[in-house]
């Protein structure tokens, strides 16, 4: 009796599992990857996507042979794939090659014959000429060293009419452009990034965020007295949270806005020129609960072909977008498993791989692209280069792996349009909800069809006109005869 009951239960359980499995298989695009990757559809729904990146290794200081990293806060990778890690707690910079073999440790430098060290540095940047720029936060200065570690210049707290009397220089992130201007993100500065010229003199602020006013706050301010108002929080622009520069010299920056654009691409004048032609403005997750709030972006990394990635510090996710603002893929998360972090602070690309630096654990997680990720990266690059043939092939491969990737259809459509296959292009543009290109393809298609069938159409029209004319004449004659008949009768 008991045994039979048991077997029944087992049977029931297996049946249930089968049912659940069957129902899941229908909805998930790629259940076998097992990763919690996703994308957003045109309609703003979360749809399953295969994982584009997978964590392969986690490296801590001991494994790397340099002793534990203590509160590391920044990473940088040079074009020849040397990896610079800023070990803030130990006041040093550690340099690895792409295989994570130690090249050297930089913990001091010579200045005017004296040895100097860093004090809790927070940011670093390496120019293509291997000049190292460190935001030496504790010493309130920015240090620029050349490849042999001799000082090129040191930027001390600047004096300027633009700055307050009680201004405190606390540089936390730095970048430099090809003209060797240095852009510094300093704590407590609302006016944008501080720009220093080649000699290290402060020239101006660049790219200030706009002040965003909360309507309810504004109402309260209107209603309160002057004394009350002076006690209230002032409306100040949000601070930037991080920045990066691409090979064309555009600054990509993230800020802590709650609404508004959290990712910006600044040109030399400080105007935001980021293309936002994707289905949604790039800003991390677009679906979130009100308790969680929107993504808090803490790092940005831009690579070739205008592909850029941002790090959501609060959820530990890395989002990657292409130059048009289409969301490509996401990976990471907060947790204790491989590929998850506690306090991620910096992301960098080494070739096609990603490095994510975890401050609290002092670890670097290496993510390698999957087949899907590689194909998508390649497709995006081919498309950016204008290599339509290659892009067509790669995008086709991509949608075979992820049918939910809507912007890929647009890529296919554009190659077909270029080839002159308008009808097929229409189909693909419709799949990707791309009205502009659909219209373009449609106009060409319409012209083609009309031209092909012009003789038939024209003949048809002429025949109809003649038929109508004859019909009218006959009808009138008939009517006339009837009227005559009526008149005779009466």
């Amino acid at each position: 009796m008991r045994k039979s009951k048991h077997t029944w239960r087992v049977l029931l359980l297996t049946a249930l599992c089968c049912l659940i499995g069957a129902s899941l298989g229908g909805t998930l695009a790629y259940a076998d990857t097992g990763a919690s990757s996703y994308n957003y559809s045109f309609w703003g729904r979360t749809v399953a996507a295969p994982a584009a990146y997978k964590a392969t290794t986690v490296l801590d200081g001991k494994e790397l042979g340099i002793g534990a990293l203590k509160d590391p806060s920044d990473l940088h990778v040079t074009p020849d794939n040397q990896i610079y890690v800023l070990d803030s707690g130990n006041n040093r910079v550690v340099v690895f090659d792409s295989q994570f073999k130690l090249i050297r440790i930089i913990d001091s430098f010579m200045r005017d014959g004296k040895q100097e060290t860093f004090n809790n540095p927070q940011g670093l940047f390496v120019t293509p000429q291997k000049q190292l720029i460190v935001a030496d936060t504790g010493n309130q200065r920015v240090v620029e060293l050349d490849a042999n570690l001799s000082v090129i210049k040191v930027i001390d707290p600047p004096q300027s009419d633009l700055l307050n009397a009680n201004f405190k220089f606390q540089p936390v992130r730095v970048i430099a452009d090809q003209a060797h201007r240095i852009y510094v993100m300093s704590v407590g500065v609302f006016d944008g990034f501080m720009e220093f010229n080649q000699n290290g003199d402060f020239t101006s602020f660049i790219g200030a965020n706009r002040v965003k006013v909360d309507p309810t706050e504004l109402l309260w301010k209107r209603l309160s007295t002057r004394a009350q108002r002076s006690q209230m929080v002032m409306f100040t622009p949000t601070e930037f949270t991080n920045l990066d520069i691409n090979d064309e010299g555009f600054i990509y920056a993230t800020n802590g806005d709650v609404w508004g654009d959290t990712i910006k691409k600044l040109n030399a004048q400080g105007n935001d020129i980021l293309r936002r032609t994707g289905y949604f403005n790039p800003k991390g997750d677009i679906r979130y609960t009100t308790e969680q709030g929107p993504a808090r972006l803490t790092d940005i990394d831009v690579t070739h072909s205008e592909i850029y990635s941002v790090l959501d510090g609060s959820r530990g996710r890395v989002f990657t977008y292409n130059g048009d603002g289409h969301f490509m893929y996401v990976f990471g998360g907060i947790g204790n498993q491989l590929g998850q972090f506690k306090t991620p602070v910096a992301i960098e690309r080494v070739g096609d791989d990603f490095l994510v630096l975890d401050k609290a654990f002092g670890e670097i997680t290496v993510f390698k692209s999957t087949e899907y990720g590689r194909t998508l990266n390649e497709a995006t690059r081919a498309y950016y280069r204008g290599d339509e043939e290659k892009a067509f092939e790669l995008y086709n491969k991509t949608i075979n792996m992820n049918a939910n990737l809507e912007f890929a259809y647009s890529g296919i459509g554009k190659s077909l349009l270029r080839k002159g296959e308008y009808k097929e292009a229409l189909h693909y543009f419709e799949e990707s909800y791309d009205r502009g290109n659909y219209s373009k393809a449609f106009l060409l298609y319409r012209k083609q069809v009309l031209r092909e069938h012009f003789p038939t159409i024209m003949t048809g029209i002429v025949v109809v006109i003649i038929a109508a004319f004859i019909g009218r004449v006959l009808w009138k004659r008939k009517k006339l005869r009837r009227m005559r008949g009526v008149s005779i009768e009466s």
Binding site: R435, G436, Y438, S439
Partner: protein
């Protein structure tokens, strides 16, 4: 006779003043009501076809959100609310129209929405993004034409002055809001009562 029935709605939209007068005083009520229902039916069909078959350029629609039954409700409910609200107000305000007059005149006023929008379902398939201006122009033109017919119809069947008609139309819209509010209240209360009874029943049934 049948030919006349088909021609009449077109006559009314072209000559609204004479047309609505005839509607109220000269024509058989039974035919009017039949035509009205046919118009409503055609409008529903037009709307369903339009959301399903309009060209991609003017109609990006999520197939998951498309529901033909809801399309019926989107036509029937506003018309019903309008007629009830209008009747309730005009009976108090010396309007001469009966409920059936209000209903038929409202339905006849909707004819432009069918006549103009129906061909555009198919035309919208062969236009480009630049030419959508025509599409939007014609659909708003249809709406304004219908509103004008609604105004003339209301004025004629109630024998109001133009200014009074406008006032009544605005009041009717407010009254429709009230009706909607009361309906929502009613459904929400019913739902709560049902769920209360349900919970009590469950408590008793599951008690051991």
């Amino acid at each position: 006779m049948n030919r006349e029935l088909i021609k009449y709605p077109f006559y009314i939209i072209m000559h609204p003043f004479n047309g609505f007068w005839d509607l109220k005083y000269d024509r058989t009520q039974r035919n009017n009501v039949i035509i009205s229902f046919v118009i409503l039916f055609l409008l529903i069909i037009t709307n369903i076809l339009s959301s399903e078959y309009s060209g991609f350029i003017v109609n990006i629609m999520n197939p998951d959100d498309m529901n033909s039954l809801m399309e019926i409700a989107y036509v029937v409910v506003p018309v019903l609310f309008w007629c009830v609200a209008n009747w309730s107000l005009t009976t108090l305000m010396n309007g001469e129209g009966r409920f059936v007059d209000i209903f038929t005149s409202t339905c006849f006023a909707l004819v432009p929405l069918i006549v103009i929008n129906f061909p555009w379902i198919w035309l919208s398939k062969v236009i480009s993004l630049q030419e959508t201006a025509f599409y939007y122009f014609f659909s708003s033109f249809a709406v304004f034409w219908s509103l004008f017919l609604l105004f003339v119809g209301n004025m004629t069947i109630h024998q109001y002055s133009p200014s009074k008609t406008i006032g009544m139309i605005l009041l009717t819209v407010v009254a429709m809001g009230f009706i909607a509010f009361i309906c929502l209240l009613f459904f929400s209360l019913t739902q709560q009562m049902v769920s209360f009874v349900n919970v009590v029943y469950k408590e008793l049934a599951l008690r051991r």
